[in-house]
Symmetry: C2
Subunit: 260 residues, 2 copies
């Protein structure tokens, strides 16, 4: 299988760097092909702007979606964007690896999403009608591929627990797992989260590697998070609200899981 | 009063640009002083890295928190970071204005947070003991100041409603309102959200301006979102989980609101 690791950490000699190297080695030893997009090492251009198309005109009003659509359709996307899209097409599984900074992904990775997820590629795909609101949330270009988050944080696990002060980790990652990964069609397996990274001695690092290795081995077989597909009947279209007989009376991110 | 608008949109001739101009004019006509950090126009450096300190050494292992702490303490922060911190100190209220891209703030604004929110400034502040886990979540450098999000999105309001497919907007904004604004001490007033921006004719634009003007007039008087302060007894320290007798049995972001 082909695995793309999109990796966002500025220091190779970090816990993240070590875990990235471990993942590459572990996957390759299992016979997989691995490619790493090391965003800091690539000096990835972060801000989405008019220069993301080679056909941009200085005097023209910039509309992000429209410019993305035209560039994608006419082959005038910046080369760096087109290359990342090729890697995504190639991949059978994608791992986004990053330290949790201010309760989300680092800016450099967010900028990768914003620029690579073009109109016509990751959104604005498929039939748009009274019964089908675009190929998204369970359908789309990434359908059939798997994705997993590999996240590190200095905070304690209890701080991210269901009643922890930072908010529970499942909800914190929902906009990424559901909104960025499930949206264009990925099956998202549960995240691998490392807490309290400031206290990682050799024993603990071995334990983390062991656990991560097991999760990588299960990348193809683990049950994905049971997000509800948009166009299979669970949502009223075009309001896109969950049908009232499903999780009746409940609200919040949890209602979008079929097993809740 | 002094108001800082941190504004993240690449096109001045956009709905966001018009609303930013309206806010500046409206606030100034009411006698306030306004400063805009227009991140795209400033060509804001987005990625947090070793170059954020003028004292960085090429061969040294980069630790983001440690480097930030040392640069903040010794006055060796990059000038662009120090200037934004000065603006935050000057401000009585801060507005973060941005289009919702992939269910969070644009990368350029996330990079502003990551770089400007230095160790010793926005985190790593105050006593750290068995009864007080740092000045954060209701305490900190921004205590006494107000903050508000001004967010636009192409999606419909129902898509972001309590059972809407994107997830409810309150939860989507929680990592920003609670994790980025309340954390260093801001009182956060409810967000001003504009939905379905693709259909903004003149009538609708007038309505949006009218509503935004009222919200700006109430910036100093509106009741803040009732997030629970960390060190006032609601949380067990150091687990930082909500006391079991508060919102008993409940889980999720909502438990961190005192009025739930």
């Amino acid at each position: 299988m082909n695995v793309l690791i999109v990796y966002a950490h500025p220091e190779p000699r970090s816990l993240n760097g070590s875990l990235k190297n471990f993942s590459v080695k572990h996957l390759e030893e299992a016979g997989h092909h691995v490619h790493v997009s090391d965003l800091y090492a690539m000096n990835w251009k972060v801000p989405l702007d008019a220069h993301d198309s080679t056909a941009w005109q200085a005097d023209r009003r910039f509309d992000a979606s429209l410019a993305s659509k035209q560039a994608f359709e006419t082959g005038t996307q910046s080369q760096d964007i087109a290359l990342e899209q090729e890697k995504l097409r190639w991949a059978d599984a994608v791992i986004l690896q990053f330290p949790l900074w201010w309760f989300s992904m680092p800016a450099i990775l967010k900028g990768w999403v914003e620029r690579v997820y073009a109109y016509g590629f990751a959104y604005g795909v498929g039939e748009h009608s009274d019964t089908h609101w675009g190929d998204r949330y369970g359908e789309g270009v990434m359908a059939g591929k798997r994705a997993m988050l590999l996240v590190t944080t200095g905070g304690w696990e209890s701080h991210y627990s269901p009643r922890g002060i930072n908010g529970q980790i499942e909800d914190m990652l929902f906009p990424i797992q559901h909104g960025i990964l499930y949206y264009p069609g990925f099956d998202v397996v549960p995240p691998f989260v490392v807490y309290r990274t400031g206290r990682t001695d050799e024993t603990r690092f071995s334990q983390i590697q062991e656990a991560l290795g097991q999760r990588l081995d299960q990348l193809w077989t683990a049950a994905p998070i049971a997000f509800r597909p948009q166009n299979a009947g669970a949502y009223d279209i075009p309001a896109l609200t969950l049908r009232s007989d499903l999780a009746p009376g409940d609200v919040g991110f949890g209602v979008h899981l079929a097993n809740e």
